[in-house]
């Protein structure tokens, strides 16, 4: 195990540790695609908030390929995949008379979403 020394601090702070991967993985979705978020309830780690599960949104942009936290947190592999910014309306998320014009944007890994039929 490396020990972080004082002369390494500036380098760490200014370089960081990106979870972006320089790997070619085919995206499953394109900008403009209508998607539905999977209703999954894993007992382990996930970055899929409950409030968006089962909801419908539209892919707004493709951020590229990243480590998948649900497997990586448990040392089950990096499972590289695309992350997208997906737009949801407050009406879809909260129902009732919530706004249809405002938006909530959430970043979704490929494994969190399916095509909306």
């Amino acid at each position: 195990m490396a020990v972080l020394t004082a002369d390494m601090v500036a380098g760490l702070a200014s370089t960081g540790a990106s979870c972006r991967l320089d790997e070619t993985v085919a995206p499953k979705f394109s900008v403009g695609d209508h998607v539905v978020v999977r209703n999954i309830n894993p007992t382990g780690h996930t970055r899929l908030p409950r409030y968006v599960r089962g909801k419908r949104g539209i892919v707004d942009r493709d951020h590229g390929v990243f480590i998948f936290p649900d497997t990586n947190a448990h040392s089950e592999g990096e499972k590289p995949q695309h992350v997208y910014s997906v737009r949801f309306t407050p009406r879809e998320l909260w129902g009732g008379d919530a706004s249809e014009r405002d938006s909530v944007y959430i970043d979704m890994w490929d494994d969190y979403i399916d095509p909306a039929s």
Partner: protein, 103 residues
């Protein structure tokens, strides 16, 4: 996991209460927690997904009743013990020793 950390949309959490001219750290122990965290993270002892999950696993009541840097302290203790870098017994012994010195 469906933990209490997953706060989006929950009600009953109270007012936001921003502090004017807030300092970066409020106590010396917060500085120490931050530094020990970055040093052990930067030394490659664990990665960010393990970091977050260790906090998620701390228990709902404990999570809501402790501050941000207490979450981090719990995380570093948990992961350094789980990776075998230190043991719970060693940590308890050190805490007891320091408590005696301080009393």
């Amino acid at each position: 996991m469906n933990g209490v950390h997953d706060l989006g949309g929950m009600h009953g959490m109270g007012p936001i209460d921003p502090e004017a001219n807030e300092p970066v750290f409020h106590n010396e122990w917060e500085r120490r927690v931050f530094a020990v965290t970055i040093a052990t993270f930067g030394g490659g002892n664990y990665h960010v997904d393990q970091f977050r999950h260790a906090i998620e696993r701390m228990g709902a009541a404990n999570y809501l009743s402790t501050s941000y840097y207490e979450h981090w302290l719990h995380m570093v203790e948990t992961l350094m013990i789980e990776t075998g870098a230190i043991s719970r017994d060693e940590l308890n012994a050190e805490q007891t020793k320091l408590a005696k010195e301080a009393s």
